[in-house]
Amino acid sequence: MENILQITQLEKTYPNGVRALKGLNFNVKKGEFLVVIGLSGSGKSTLLRCINRLHDPTAGSILFEDKDIAHVQGEEVRDVRKNIGMIFQHFNLIPRHTVLSNVLMGTLGRMGSLRSIFGLFSESDKEKAMKYLQLVGIADKAAIRADQLSGGQQQRVAIARALMQEPRLLLADEPVASLDPATCHTVMDYLKKVNEELGITIVANLHFLSLVRQYATRVIALKGGELVFEGDPKDISEEWFQKIYGQGAKEVHIN
């Protein structure tokens, strides 16, 4: 299988001197559901934000579909982001706008600034938005303000917004960390559906190993900004678990 993402010697040092990523190397194959695990502060979020250039990497290369995007500037950064969707722990919707309008914001990258500011979204975009809302099972809420939805519903709207970009890669930064266990699975199921039915590659940060085993096709683990494990989710033994999360850590199950 072809690689969609090839990451080589990726480094990120923040202006305050914190070295969040210390020379990461790994590849992501097309169609994979790759999960990144690790403690808080291990560099997971930084990694995802470097891939879609919300953060600028300090050194190294990121080949996205064979083009190095680690150090592109200006318009090219926007081109990168157009093709990579992202969902966040806190959903990051615009609370005062309707669900439909939030989903339509996924097309901003392809739209002229002026047209979008006057809210001139095309009819075909609106149809597309409704289609993706249907896909995540929330089409009936299209006219409701986003801040009136529950957490799980908001995350599904965020998925629809990301799909609106028609991305080839979807980044998910702790997508279920602020949701209750029951909603957790609903959101993960929709991500799986996106991965399997639309063939969109997914790179997700997750906390719960039980979710990792259930959804990931492959897993990597970060510790202190370095890669400490790479392989099949079923291969994470007790020994590896201790290595990644520290001595004495206990696995919490979520059902």
Partner: protein, 342 residues
């Protein structure tokens, strides 16, 4: 090793220089002309400041806390000597002496005098004024109402014209929007420019514009507009600086441009406080417009100063009633509107 703490040194130096000058005045009792020798006096002040800085530095070598040290601590460690009562500390006496001296100097400088208040001639003048004011001449009411309407619209137009300028400026004056090598200098330039504009009172702007475009409501409106732009831009930009980063990241990640990000992620977060500030600004402008009228900005203020100049207190009384009612109504209305917008 004592690290140089500039803020602390400056604070102690200024406090000492002030006390030093007060002491010199008490000892030498200079006459009027001596006060006007600005260059010499500045030198004396600076000498005092230098001495103060030296003393302050000496205290920090001795590890004795001064008031500057209390205000601008050089280490982040909490010390355990906090339980000492203030009169057993250097900083306690430093603050007590400085405040007492300031109070005494203020009384001398304002020629505070109980005799003036109790003087019988002056008191009777005030009684005449109050008799007039509390017995308004309602014949000038129609003119007063027409003038206050002029004032209200002057304030409204000043606020309305200030909004678009302040709106655009607010994003260019917000630290979290203006990142990068080109944006940062623009940010600093605009910040400084607006600070200077705001520090010039609307009253001064009114004097400038009454020379420029002639005495009247137009000059007053322009003065209020300039002041409103600077004030609103500052308030708006503080709002922009407190928006949450989440929605910004959310919109950025879709490949949106800078302008789209501001419009879709920042504006929805700030629009209600913006409206609230603007309503309040209109309210303030109505009150300021009255004052501005006093220096030729038109409206009710100009009418007030004309009758006051002729000591026609009964007419002044009528105008004051009109102003009071309108200001009270505007105040209440803007408070209700702002409450509803929360």
């Amino acid at each position: 090793m004592v690290k140089l703490n500039i803020k602390k040194l400056v604070f102690d130096a200024v406090v000492f220089a002030f006390l030093w000058c007060v002491t010199l005045v008490i000892i030498f009792r200079p006459d009027e002309d001596a006060y006007l020798l600005l260059n010499r006096n500045v030198l004396i002040f600076l000498a005092g400041a230098f001495l103060g800085a030296l003393i302050s530095f000496g205290f920090s070598l001795l590890k004795i806390k001064t008031a500057g040290e209390i205000l601008f601590p050089s280490t982040h460690q909490r010390d355990l000597s906090a339980a000492v009562p203030w009169y057993k500390t250097v900083w306690g006496w430093q603050i007590a002496v400085a405040l007492t001296a300031t109070f005494v100097v203020a009384i001398v400088k304002t020629r505070f005098s109980v005799w003036e208040i109790l003087d019988i001639d002056g008191f009777q003048g005030a009684v005449r004024l109050f008799q007039g004011v509390f017995n308004p001449n309602w014949e000038v009411l129609p003119a007063a109402v027409n003038n206050i309407i002029e004032t209200i619209f002057m304030a409204f137009l000043a606020t309305a014209l200030a909004i678009p300028f302040a709106f655009v400026l607010s994003f260019m004056c917000a630290r979290n929007i203006m990142k990068g090598p080109i944006a940062l200098p623009i940010y600093w330039f605009l910040r400084t420019f607006l600070n200077i504009t705001r520090s010039v009172e609307a009253l001064i702007w009114a004097i400038i514009f009454s020379v420029w475009v002639g005495i009247g409501p137009f000059a007053g409106m322009l003065a209020l507009m300039i002041h409103s732009i600077a004030s609103l831009a500052k308030q708006y930009s503080e709002m922009v600086e407190t928006v949450s980063e989440g929605p910004i990241e959310g919109i950025q990640s879709t490949g949106a441009t800078k302008m789209q990000t501001i419009w879709f992620a920042v504006v929805p977060q700030v629009i209600l406080p913006y409206i609230s500030f603007t309503v309040y600004r209109w309210d303030i402008n109505v009150r300021m417009a009255t004052i501005i009228g006093l220096v030729g900005g038109g409206g009710i203020g100009t009418m007030l100063i004309q009758y006051q100049g002729q000591a026609m207190w009964r007419e002044v009384g009528c105008i004051i009633v009109v102003i009071a009612i309108v200001v009270w109504l505007m105040d209440a209305a803007s408070a209700y509107i702002r409450e509803a917008l929360k």
